[in-house]
Assembly symmetry: C2
Homo-oligomer: 396 residues x 2
């Protein structure tokens, strides 16, 4: 059979990371390619107890269909947690999603027509590009500096044409960068002036282990921002429970899109998450996770400092799980990966994270899961390969 595939599906490509991860499953490969939380951060016994309580006390509801918006007590808990940062958040604006990835799918459907302009950071989260791409927008990459996106770099028409700005202010995937408060405020002011919503994706916000925490853009004006949150990094990603908080103007359409997408997020999982966060559990658990990631980061940076040539640039992250390496211009990380895989070490070439005009001299390292020994050994191999295959001078 040779059926007609939709235009949008023809444009879909398999994720480079996804294909790479199949290779890195081999135990001999030291992988800095993944972006998954360390299983050591999963509160296994606590989750099992939560699950058992739900299925002992509330089984019929946990096993039955539920409302599209989500389990009310969990929505209230999320609104209360977000309200601690300032503005009072209405639980009626919280929509539980099947992972925060689903929020991106819903927002593409509700905000983007074919050819609509979507502003994205340079570089940005690959999964967001994939989700939004199904609505066939025109991606408008926003130039970024060390503080975050520089909207002033865009022409006035590029701003007024935009239907949304998608950004990850905390410990961005892939760069690990935390956007400054000044830049957050500037983005908000410009977005309001040009009349488009900011989509603030915040999966890593809780994983802050150095420097001061910075208020979310959302906390500055919940009517101008759609906030995407997740329990994947603070409890467990395998439950696929995330949420979005949306302004009144968008909420009903997002609920309708959610209903069409999967009716609702699993009733059981929402209740297990709610049980798991009772009694202030995250107040004890998040510091433990932060300590884990802080130590992973410390070892990784130490390994890179020892093993990489000095002409490879990177910043020390203050949170999250990523380090972004910049080789001198004119180098290309994609052929470097081929050599790296032969040496049983893996990373993600940075080119895959650009909506347009990829900077091929970049690469993303994730340090969430390897042991210290493997981080040192992986950095040693990587340093050797870079010295062997890359040139230390800029060649544009």
């Amino acid at each position: 059979m040779t059926w007609t595939i939709s235009e949008r599906a023809q444009k879909l490509t398999s994720s480079a990371i996804r294909d790479l991860l199949k290779v890195t499953e081999r135990p001999e490969v030291i992988s800095f390619a993944g972006g998954i939380p360390t299983p050591r951060s999963f509160p296994v016994d606590h989750m099992r107890a939560a699950c058992d309580r739900v299925l002992s006390q509330d089984a019929h509801a946990a096993l039955q269909y539920g409302p599209t918006e989500g389990y009310t007590p969990l929505r209230v808990w999320i609104a209360d947690a977000l309200s601690k940062h300032g503005t009072r958040i209405d639980p009626e604006r919280v929509l539980i999603t099947t992972g925060s990835q689903q929020g991106l799918d819903l927002l593409g459907k509700v905000l983007l027509d074919k050819g609509s302009s979507a502003l994205v950071e340079t570089p940005t989260y690959l999964g967001a590009l994939q989700a939004l791409k199904l609505s066939e927008p025109h991606f408008q990459p926003v130039p970024c500096d060390e503080e975050g996106p520089v909207l002033e770099g865009l022409a006035p028409l590029q701003l007024t044409a935009a239907r949304m700005l998608y950004c990850i202010p905390n410990f961005q995937n892939p760069t690990g960068r935390r956007m400054t408060f000044a830049r957050r405020c500037a983005l908000l002011a410009l977005a309001k002036a040009a009349n488009f919503p900011i989509i603030e994706d915040d999966p890593y916000g809780a994983l802050s282990y150095a420097g001061d925490e910075v208020p979310s853009i959302f906390s500055q004006d919940p009517e101008a921002v759609v906030y995407l949150g997740s329990f994947s990094k603070v409890l467990a990603p395998g439950l696929r429970v995330g949420y979005l908080v949306a302004p009144k103007a968008l909420f009903p359409k997002l609920v309708q899109a959610k209903q069409a997408a999967d009716l609702h997020t699993p009733s059981l999982n929402q209740r297990v998450i709610f049980e798991a966060v009772q009694g202030g559990f995250l107040d004890q658990h998040i510091p433990r996770i932060r300590a884990l990631y802080a130590e992973q980061c410390r070892v990784m940076v130490d390994a890179l400092q020892r093993e990489l040539p000095e002409w490879v640039q990177y910043d020390t992250p203050e949170g999250g799980m990523f380090i972004w390496l910049r080789l001198p211009a004119g180098n290309d990380a994609t052929p470097l990966l081929a050599h790296a895989l032969q040496a049983n070490v893996a990373f993600v070439p940075g080119a895959t994270f650009f909506a347009e005009q990829p900077q091929t001299n970049t690469l993303r390292l994730s340090f969430s899961t390897p042991t210290p020994e493997r981080m040192y050994e992986g950095a040693r191999r990587l340093g050797g390969l870079i010295r062997q295959h890359c040139h230390p001078d800029e060649r544009v």
Copy 2:
């Protein structure tokens, strides 16, 4: 803020059923409006034990991200179960979805462009119309008789223009109709000749309690059909685990669309379902569910026979949870619902299930959950209201 909403989202409307269900939550309302399984069919202790085994033996994987295609042992189990009906099914063609509703969203994305023709039954499942609508197709309703859709009623151009035919051959929502084997074969031959895939949605197939089971269209040619299955009616809908089995020509694109939609279906839930079906559990459990629904159906039909005027038409279902009432032409079930709600009895007006040209003289009754007493009392009230507000003669 008054942001621009996408054209497709502007066309979205809240589900009439969804809004209605909020009213019918009041305990004094006897509701035939829902379409949810009876919680008496949920194997609660069995599910709790399955969940505990998963979190005792395989917690780290159950709480971690997983592959987009799904948990391999569950995919193999599904392929084996489907292979019992004839053709050998390859587990590599099974994609686990977040409920079979998600399969509809993915199929719309992969098969439909704006304006593409999608053939649907008359009437059909409202949730399918909602999911596919987000891809902005042109719905082409196919006339149906008591055996199923009559593709011969369409012009040749209408057939060759079609990108898909969506149908529910077993105990259709909303009509309760089971498509005959001859009609299934005729559809398959016509779809292959006109070169479009059949989307066979089969959530109710296991709930067969009278008459002979009929082979799926999929079993006759797995390369010409996308089959959608679900554990919602045989185990529990609250876990949101469904699946699709797709021909080679579509599978990779469906996986890419799934990855963009929610990365993967919850790892925990897939493992709990897999644990729950071990040891032939469904071979014992499905007969119990069938007996439950058979008895609910027997009581409902008896109640309708006693209480409805003879000029209201309906067929006795052989499976599933729906009865489709047809009032004489010229009557309208929507104002009847307003009277019914005042009398604390609810149903769904049939008009909502039509892609175009609604037959307003129809209504859907679900008999899955009410007690016998409430079915008799509900039918009594409904019969009285029909006598009071509807006319017994056809007035076109």
